[in-house]
């Protein structure tokens, strides 16, 4: 909780600073919640173990699904080989490139479209036209368009992230309080200064939301693209594991995808929070 400096020295008129967040829950309640959450995870693994160990088959068939222990052993094996890291690094590189390109273009286009009517009229219609097409549907065209497999997968990844980023940026710019713009002009701000000092920071919370959604979508697109076409990457690895009947590797691949996706989303959120120190910290944080 942010303390207001000098709150005890300055003469106060009106109520003291209202620091919104309520006091954290009592420690006893905290512990009870942690225990509940741990029990929930434990139950999940127990059910997985029982279903696979007993080869349950009631329409859904668990005979070929590896047990948690098999997956763990497989993970230990895989992380001991250099080849697995090649797949992870290939995926990370594509995500990083695709997401970076989507961020630059999405934020740039979004700010322009949101602020300038001319940009809205000239740039927005094709975006609206292409937006409903899922990025995965671009895979065949992408293979024809781009010279290398890497560039075509990066394209798919960027395409998926671009739309949520550009739309949230536009939304953020359009949602800026007109009064703040008036205030800026009556303090002597010109057009460029308003864009820099009001429009960009005003849209930032929405931009960060777009980046966060975009990161999730770019993983979705990356894995789909890697499964369809490719020779490297975690998605490729997971799909190939199915083909060569290494079922434990499928689950390891899935878990790696989940963990990497979670970490990259957390990174986006953390950077976003760092860029917006004025926003009150939520007492109840998602993660």
């Amino acid at each position: 909780m942010a303390a207001v400096p000098g709150a005890d020295t300055a003469p106060l008129v009106g109520a003291p600073a209202a620091l919104a967040d309520a006091a954290p829950a009592a420690p006893a309640g905290q512990w009870r919640r942690r225990v509940r959450r741990a029990a929930s995870l434990g139950l999940f693994f127990a059910l997985w173990h029982i279903a696979t160990e007993w080869d349950l088959a009631f329409y859904v068939r668990f005979q070929n699904i590896p047990t948690p222990a098999q997956v763990l052993a497989e993970a230990v094996d895989l992380f001991g080989t250099a080849g697995f890291y090649v797949h992870i690094l290939a995926s990370l590189e594509r995500i990083w490139l695709g997401f970076a390109i989507a961020s630059v273009l999405g934020i740039g286009f979004g700010l322009l479209i949101g602020w300038f009517r001319f940009a809205e009229d000239t740039l927005f219609p094709p975006i609206e036209l292409l937006r409903p097409i899922p990025a995965v549907a671009w895979v065949p065209l992408s293979i024809m368009l781009w010279p290398t497999e890497r560039s075509s997968i990066v394209f798919i990844t960027a395409l998926g992230a671009f739309f949520p980023i550009v739309l949230n940026t536009i939304h953020g710019v359009e949602g800026i309080d007109r009064q703040l713009i008036r205030a800026a002009t009556s303090l002597g701000a010109g057009r460029a200064a308003i864009f820099r000092e009001v429009v960009i920071p005003g849209a930032l919370p929405s931009i960060v939301t777009g980046l966060s959604v975009g990161m999730g979508v770019s993983w979705l697109c990356l894995i789909s693209a890697e499964m369809i076409s490719g020779q490297f990457g975690v998605g490729y690895f997971t799909w190939v594991a199915y083909g060569i009947v290494k079922y434990s590797q499928i689950v390891v691949g899935m878990l790696v995808i989940g963990v990497l996706g979670m970490l990259s989303s957390a990174l986006v959120r953390a950077i976003g929070a760092r860029c917006m120190p004025w926003l009150p910290r939520r007492a109840k944080d998602g993660s």
Partner: protein, 273 residues
Amino acid sequence: MAAPPREGRILSTGRIEINDLGIAYGANSRRVEAVRGFTLMTMPGEFMALLGPSGCGKTTVLNAVAGFVQPNAGTVVVDGEPVRGPGADRGMVFQQHSLFPWKTVLANVEFGLKMRGIKRTPRTSQARAYLGLVGLAGFEDAYPAELSGGMQQRVGIARTLVNRPRVMLMDEPFGALDAQTRLNMQELLLNVWREVRTTVIFVTHDIDEALFLADRVAVMTARPGEIRDVVTVKLARPRPAEVIATPEFMTLKARVLAQVREESARVLPAPRR
């Protein structure tokens, strides 16, 4: 801390001439005349209150002086220059929520100086001086959301005055505050105004507030708003809070109240008998 900015000399800036102002919104059948034939003049350094029933066009007049709206008829002239658009020489203090949430208190107050290209060091020391003037020394690094409504309005006043405007336009700046805070803010405003002498146009619908603060109170008619009466408030300054209980104050209040009630009655339907 830098010495508080003091203005001892007779002011030569801040003469506002509003002549036969007419402003309408919308078009055709939905056209609404907010202001018509509005004429008002202020002397340099004068505290002018603009009082009237809600919807009478008080804020529209203020927006025209600020340059936010273009008049359909008439002129607004500040120190001989016609108003063509917004500018830092006519600073506005809004009712609420007009600080930049992403800037600290200090950066909010520095904003106008930054726009003028003033270097960081003099900028910061000037901003600090004005924050001290409104009693917010020590809150430089807080964000607006961490402050109470009254403190936010004090930042808004400091942010405007640091630009040394010809006129400070105030649009019901204390309207969203609780009664006790509003009284404190009125006293604070008068103290600050004594230090930093500038013309003030203060829009309010609170008769006590208008009479307590102003040199003259311009009472507006119902929409389309024009001047109904301009009441000179001859109460001595500095005015203690108790002045509102004196007979002189009561006499003025009775006169203004009768006018405001008449104008309000023209807007609201007459009660059934």
